[in-house]
């Protein structure tokens, strides 16, 4: 029974990271593309744009980090295998 739970946890952790990375990756690509376009159009406001971009990227990345934490919980601190 314990083995089964561990195998399932590993598979679930893989899926959590895989699909959890998909959305943020696409979103970050869009954000960076838009920021580059804006900087190309208005190079003088590059400072403001890149500051906003960094904060926005961090916000987007948070969802991927959530998935990472969930998968690490499954792998290392699984409440069902104690």
């Amino acid at each position: 029974m314990n083995d089964f739970i561990q195998i399932t946890s590993v598979i679930a952790a893989t899926f959590a990271v895989a699909f959890g990375a998909l959305g943020p990756a696409l979103a970050e690509g869009r954000a960076v593309a838009a920021a580059l376009e804006a900087i190309a159009r208005q190079p003088e406001s590059a400072g403001t744009i890149s500051r906003t971009l960094f904060v926005g990227l961090a916000m987007i990345e948070t969802t991927a980090i959530y998935c990472l934490v969930v998968s690490l919980l499954l792998l290392f601190a699984n409440p069902f295998t104690q």
């Binding site: 500051r51 960094f54 980090i65 934490v69 690490l72 290392f76």
Partner: protein, 233 residues
């Protein structure tokens, strides 16, 4: 296999109190930063030397960043935001010291930092709007928004904690895995990347803390003045 990233190792015990390694490293960083600041600011002169010039540059950059985000005197937020920025930067970069793990790679340190920001945002909201105004901000624009506003207040500080923890911990974890596969020179590019991530995360933590703390203050300002461009989280 590496030990779990959620475990902390105990450094020593004082009676019944177990002191873990992240706490030791945290106090070491705090002592280091305090000592450096004390030594540099002990003899301030009108014609700054090299160290004083660097310190003045840091403070003036910080001030201009704060002024761009929150209108008004930047000196109100400088101690909190500046300390958060410099402490987290130093903590993230302690991974360069051999044998030292960044304290921010453990959930407890990040939880402490995020709760400081949480309490500070409540403090500034009450100070600038009064208790009634602060409680009133939860039911704006309508009563239906009350649960969403309460959850939003809590989750944004929770995500502040998880973001820092996840980024720093994953870096430490990846480096330790690569280190166990190939020890010589191979982890160095990853460590360089980790330094960049550490700097960016310190900056983001400080910026978001400033936005959270400042949003309460600028909300109060927009109530009195005609509509001006506010900062939203």
């Amino acid at each position: 296999m590496e030990s779990s990233p959620f475990n902390v190792e105990t450094a020593f015990t004082i009676g019944p109190l177990a002191v873990s390694w992240p706490v030791v490293v945290t106090w070491g960083i705090m002592a280091f930063l305090t000592a450096v600041s004390f030594i540099i600011t002990r003899r301030l002169s009108l014609k700054p030397g090299r160290a004083q010039a660097v310190l003045e540059l840091i403070v003036s950059t910080l001030d201009s960043e704060i002024r761009e985000t929150v209108a008004g005197n930047p000196a109100r937020f400088r101690p909190l935001i500046g300390t958060l920025l410099i402490f987290i930067l130093a903590a993230n970069w302690t991974s360069l010291v051999p044998g030292v793990e960044p304290p921010t790679a453990h959930l407890e340190t990040d939880a402490a930092l995020a709760s400081i920001v949480f309490l500070a945002s409540i403090f500034w909201a009450i100070r600038s709007q009064g208790v009634g105004g602060w409680l009133g901000s939860f039911v704006r624009p309508s009563w239906l928004m009350l649960p969403l506003n309460v959850i939003g207040q809590i989750t944004r500080h929770f995500s502040l904690m998880i973001r820092l923890f996840g980024n720093v911990m994953s870096g430490v974890f990846v480096i330790s895995i690569v280190l166990s596969l190939a020890g010589l020179l191979v982890p160095i590019p990853l460590m360089a990347l980790e330094m960049l991530t550490g700097a960016v995360q310190a900056y983001i933590f400080a910026t978001l803390a400033l936005v959270f703390v400042g949003s309460a203050v600028s909300e109060a300002a927009t109530e009195n003045e005609p509509k001006q461009k506010g900062t939203e989280a």
